[in-house]
Subunit: 330 residues, 2 copies
Amino acid sequence: MPYIRSSDLGPRVLARDVRAIARLLTRAESGVDEARATLDAMFAHAGRAHVVGITGVPGSGKSTLVAKLAAAVRKTGRTIAIVAIDPSSPFSGGSILGDRIRMGDLGGDPGVFVRSMATRGALGGIANGTLETVDVLDAAGFDIVIIETVGVGQDEVEVARAAHSTVVVSAPGLGDDIQAIKAGILEIADIHAVSKCDRPDANRTIADLKTMLALGLTRLDTANVGAVPQPSWRAPVIATSSTRGEGVAELLAAVDDHRAALERSGDIETRRAAIAERRLLAACEAMLREQFARHRDGRLSPLLEKLRTRTLSPRTAAQALLHELKLGGE
Amino acid sequence: MPYIRSSDLGPRVLARDVRAIARLLTRAESGVDEARATLDAMFAHAGRAHVVGITGVPGSGKSTLVAKLAAAVRKTGRTIAIVAIDPSSPFSGGSILGDRIRMGDLGGDPGVFVRSMATRGALGGIANGTLETVDVLDAAGFDIVIIETVGVGQDEVEVARAAHSTVVVSAPGLGDDIQAIKAGILEIADIHAVSKCDRPDANRTIADLKTMLALGLTRLDTANVGAVPQPSWRAPVIATSSTRGEGVAELLAAVDDHRAALERSGDIETRRAAIAERRLLAACEAMLREQFARHRDGRLSPLLEKLRTRTLSPRTAAQALLHELKLGGE
């Protein structure tokens, strides 16, 4: 297969050519320099998609729910892309296969695109890589772009900051340990989905969740978390069952409602501004890490040696390094 | 209470004064400038502690095991500090209380120090903040410093890169979803602990784990994950039961063995070099984020506006910003 220049992939991506999209995304992930200008162009073309973050703890049935949601989106005639941030090993390769399998009937549908990102071990690549992927899929014209994360850590907050709407998936029967952790991510929800509502203990999960919300226990410290307050919106709790196919249409309706509410109140602009901020910081960090990787065995060596022997503090070393690297050029 | 200068806290920290340690850590976390020089001094004094990362998925019983391990360490006459990276909400306050409760009998023991870090929402603060905390506790003379994380995401890899020894805790009966995710963190283990071995299904968990290890399914792609290969060490699998108090002494022995093996083979120096590298990158990132926060409403505004309207690409904007900020000074 001959190498197709990224600049030639660009127009094909904009026409939603699935193979061109996949190729450009691979180049973006590998940090291919030649793809840079094209990715910049994709960014310029993006901005129309509804970006939805969907997160939930392991075992919440989130992936199955996302597949059902994708089918519901397709029924309305819209297209959907899913970026699955998968923490499993980059070698297992299992994640991509898994995605294909769980998409089931949607596998051959050009209106659905699934991209698994093996973030494990990618040095800080999560934020910038994910955001670039979203740009490409947005530019390609997918109506909805979902960022799906397995959530307990910092990554979820980052994702919430990058999305217009965030869905947090809860599930019955996950045990106290997991519920406690979940409390930490409830705060970022614009919409709550409770999965596995065919289970008899689901009612308690829904009731608990509503109680927490009513008590304000999940209120967001916006200054700290950096999320955008939206006083005109009250996060609904949607009961779903992937096995029975229940609640999925309602979930999609809630996602659409949230977008409409953002547009109506003008809060969409505040979110866009917040996303731009995340985007810039992520790009700066990516650049820093690139430079770091480039000079690891060269200019960095004497600094690292001084750190190892503790004759220089990390902060002083960082100052020296940043000065020397002259990030951003002369 | 009068303000005690950080430079006066320093000598008290080195004498393991618990209140002085707590104060200095709070200042480090809040980014108090006045504490900078003292933190640098603490870094210079650090380097003797055995830093142990302990990670496991939610529900693995890891926190209870850490408490038991702390008691076992105390029985040998050594001191121990625990840095718990807690993803629950920064406002719940529940985590700190929870730590105090779960430490039980050790609560009043000056040879045990527990610090919960509410990382949620802390803009990229995990890496640098955690490493600074470890430095202070190391300088304070704690023999063992444990970094405890709830693990499925990127944070765990970062922690593994910051520790001399990494323990991954597995548990029976967590369900397929969680097991699959766990597979991703098995790779970073120097030691495997299986918790809840009083349960009848624990034997299967141990057998599964041993099979995965024997098949090499958890082999580390060191180039990608950035961890340090250590061919002379084979990660043992330790069966533990916190309720029965079984296997905890064996776990501590394995941790000590690992350290001894690192010293014997000389691999400890390779790990120290890798840790120095993580330390430098984390310090650079922290500096970048500080500058970013400082200029958010000032110099950043025109760039952010251009990003929002997509008239400038994130990469170009980042280049302009990094140039303008002149990170590291003139």
